[in-house]
């Protein structure tokens, strides 16, 4: 049934329907509504789960590691500094092969303080071994959260469902919420690959010396390599039941496009509108939406971009000294392909600044009118200010 829901509530609904057994939570804006709604569900008996009100994000994820070792389905949510504070535990979770699901609501990192949308928080955790799935709207957030449990438990890797501060988290949209029985058909009770039990004593995560550490890491790599295929399987099952499908990437009008815009998250919605306008005006433009970032879907990206002359990667994130993070990854994916397109990079919307259709159209024009891309990402819409530090 369609309900008008805040993006954060859409996450919470999916967690309820997934019959999560242990939730651990620490508040941070703009994520907090997710765990508030879940605490209501636990208090009212709508969910049969243990809810741990921990004292920090480090403990938040550590508690879920303990719970997942105990063989139950687990969930948490965080943003920004909270995710950064989890950093050690992010590695530990993936290394332990625990299928923990986390909603990560993109928010800029300090300093200076900023609570608005910016992907640098999640993208700077790209090497921690988590699957990362970026979402565009409330429905996708709901669907992806359900899919995340299925995927995580299939490959025994943790999944980060990435949404955006305010643009998704606090925005009300119609979201189709299925019945519990339908969700149960898609997501059976969790059957863990292992669980700590006194009847069958074993040790989890003892020291692995150089003679075995690489093999354990390689196991991890193989599981991650399997993800694009397994995600496709999960989506097929999901589509049969719910008639919706997203893809690791979504390529729109890419086959005959000369210039392709590459986006992720909510910027994609704005780019869809621009694409219609430009196509109406006869421009040969395409759009590639990146949903999956880890593992990076190299095959799908290269296939979508292969016929383009130019690609414009639009990043609402920033790696100091290296530019946009999606830009780096798209370039790296294409670098060994013949006839690869020129790759242009743009930084927009940091710390929640609006990215309008006009901004995206400027980027399209700049790309069309440039012959050679800059090595660095080009910053779009900077105001002139005089407060630079230094001499």
């Amino acid at each position: 049934m369609k309900q008008v829901l805040e993006g954060n509530s859409a996450v919470a609904e999916a967690v309820r329907l997934a019959r999560v057994q242990v939730i651990s939570a620490y508040p941070i804006t703009p994520q907090s509504h997710i765990v508030e709604v879940l605490s209501d569900y636990c208090a009212s008996g709508k969910m049969d789960a243990r809810y741990l009100r921990v004292e920090s994000e480090h403990s938040c994820l550590a508690a879920l590691v303990g719970a997942a070792c105990g063989g139950v389905r687990t969930f948490t949510a965080t943003s920004s500094a909270g995710l950064a504070y989890m950093h050690e535990m992010l590695h530990w979770t993936a290394g332990s092969r625990l299928p923990i699901v986390m909603a990560e609501v993109n928010r800029a990192l300090g300093a200076p303080w900023n609570i608005w949308s910016d992907q640098t928080d999640s993208l700077s955790q790209r090497d921690t071994g988590w699957i990362q799935l970026y979402c565009e709207d409330g429905q996708e957030v709901f669907d992806t959260t359900l899919q995340a449990f299925r995927l995580a438990e299939w490959v025994n890797l943790p999944v980060m469902v990435v949404t955006e501060g305010f643009l998704i988290s606090h925005t009300y949209e119609p979201v189709d919420i299925p019945e519990q029985e339908e969700v149960d058909r898609f997501l059976p009770p969790y059957n863990p690959a292992f669980k700590v039990d006194t009847k069958n004593p074993f040790t989890v995560n003892s020291i692995a010396p150089p003679s075995i550490y690489m093999e354990i890491r390689h196991d991890n790599a193989m599981a991650m390599d399997e993800v694009p295929e397994r995600f496709d399987d999960v989506e097929k099952e999901f589509e049969v039941l719910f008639n919706r499908r997203y893809g690791a990437v979504e390529a729109i009008n890419c086959d005959d496009a000369e210039i392709i815009l590459v986006t992720s998250g909510t910027i994609t919605s704005t780019a869809r509108l621009l694409l219609e306008d430009l196509r109406d005006r006869g421009e040969k433009v395409g759009l590639l939406k990146m949903k999956m970032f880890r593992p990076f879907p190299v095959e799908q990206v290269c296939r979508a971009l292969k016929s383009a002359m130019k690609v414009a990667v639009i990043d609402r994130n920033f790696s100091s000294g290296a530019g946009g993070i999606f830009l780096q990854e798209v370039r790296a994916a294409l670098c060994n392909r013949e006839d690869r397109p020129l790759v242009f990079g743009y930084i927009v919307g940091l710390g929640g600044r609006d990215v309008t259709k006009a901004v995206l159209e400027d980027i399209y024009k700049m790309t069309k009118n440039s012959d050679v891309p800059s090595d660095k990402s080009v910053w779009i819409g900077l105001r002139e200010v005089k407060h630079a530090i230094g001499r």
Binding site: Q21, V22, S24, A49, R50, L52, R53, V54, E55, S56, H58, S59, C60, A62, A63, L64, V65, G66, A67, A68, C69, G70, G71, V72, T74, E88, M89, W92, K195, V196, D197, T198, P201, F202, T203, V204, N205, S206, I207, A208, P209, I212
Partner: protein, 313 residues
């Protein structure tokens, strides 16, 4: 004397500890007192290494290794999972060193016991970061040499009173124990196991390489800490009811300090000052215990001590 504990061993031979390691003595006695329905969560510490390198383990009970700050939080989550599974027979134990308890793990510990998580948290205390090579922790006592308090820069700060910090959380049970007093340790472990909510055991565990003592006096040295009132044996219920458990042979602190190389730089004046500090702490503890026993006659004199005891060794 036979211990009132499981006949079986839950720790096999072949562990990776140094000779005379107090942590191993503590873990062996502790697990025998706990029995097989026990899961250990071990944050980074000597014990994390001692219990075995993949693919071997010396433990016959399940072990979950955890990052150093995360002993109490991983244990909290594991308890929650067992509850959801309906497993009420198993006791979850976090087993951490002093660094993982007093320092980097303190926030998680404080959070977990404030929530009154149903687990036993054991801090085996060897008074420094021994696994990384004898660096000072906030448990390192006044006067000690470590590799980060070398030469004349020896530690001139008090050891953090972790027991009182836990007592301040008003948890159901806090107790100190010592590898040289196994019967007392076993009794406290069993008592902790029988109580619901957060239990904290602070076990004094000598470290021959870190304390610069020969391995054969490991237990004796730990015993002297109790006799010198440096590490009193006591327990606190519900944050208010204090019971001091040891009344026996008494020693000046100098006896305890003189056998250890880590204190070899201390002078007679230093010993005098440390003796005063220890007597002050001991007096404070006696007053706390005395408040609970109207018939106890408490005197601050270190020579004549009539204190409430429930066990005499």
């Amino acid at each position: 004397m036979r211990l009132d504990a499981d006949e079986r061993e839950f720790m096999c031979s072949g562990h990776a500890a140094c000779p005379g390691c107090g942590a191993v003595i503590a873990l062996r006695i502790f697990t025998k007192a706990m029995g097989e329905n026990t899961i250990l969560v071990i944050p980074a510490s000597c014990t994390g290494v001692i219990v075995g390198v993949y693919p071997q383990s010396v433990m016959r009970i399940p072990v979950v290794h955890a990052p150093m700050p995360a002993g109490a939080s991983v244990a909290s989550g594991l308890r929650a999972a067992l509850d959801m599974r309906g497993d009420t027979d198993t006791t979850v134990v976090a087993w951490a060193g002093d660094g993982g308890t007093f320092d980097i793990g303190f926030q998680a510990l404080s959070g977990a016991v404030e929530r009154n998580e149903d687990f036993i948290y054991v801090c085996y205390d060897n008074e420094a970061y021994m696994n990384t090579g004898i660096q000072r922790s906030s448990s390192t006592p006044y006067g000690a040499w470590t590799t980060t308090t070398p030469g004349q820069d020896w530690k001139r700060l008090r050891k953090k009173n972790i027991v009182e910090a836990l007592v301040a959380h008003r948890i159901p049970y806090v107790a100190t124990a010592n590898i040289a007093f196994p019967e007392d340790l076993v009794r406290k472990v069993k008592k902790a196991k029988s109580i619901k909510g957060s239990k904290f055991l602070h076990i004094f565990a000598s470290c021959p390489p870190g304390w610069r003592i020969p391995s054969e006096i490991s237990v004796k040295t730990a015993r002297m800490a109790v006799q010198a009132n440096i590490f009193p044996l006591y327990e606190v219920e519900d944050g208010v009811r204090y019971t001091i458990n040891y009344k026996g042979k008494q020693r000046p602190v100098q006896d305890y300090f003189e056998v250890q190389g880590r204190f070899s730089h201390l002078t007679a004046e230093d010993f005098e000052q440390i003796q005063k500090m220890v007597e002050e702490d001991w007096g404070l503890l006696q007053r706390k215990a005395g408040y609970q026993a109207a018939d106890a006659c408490i005197q601050s004199s270190s020579a004549q001590r009539a204190i409430k005891t429930n066990k005499v060794f």
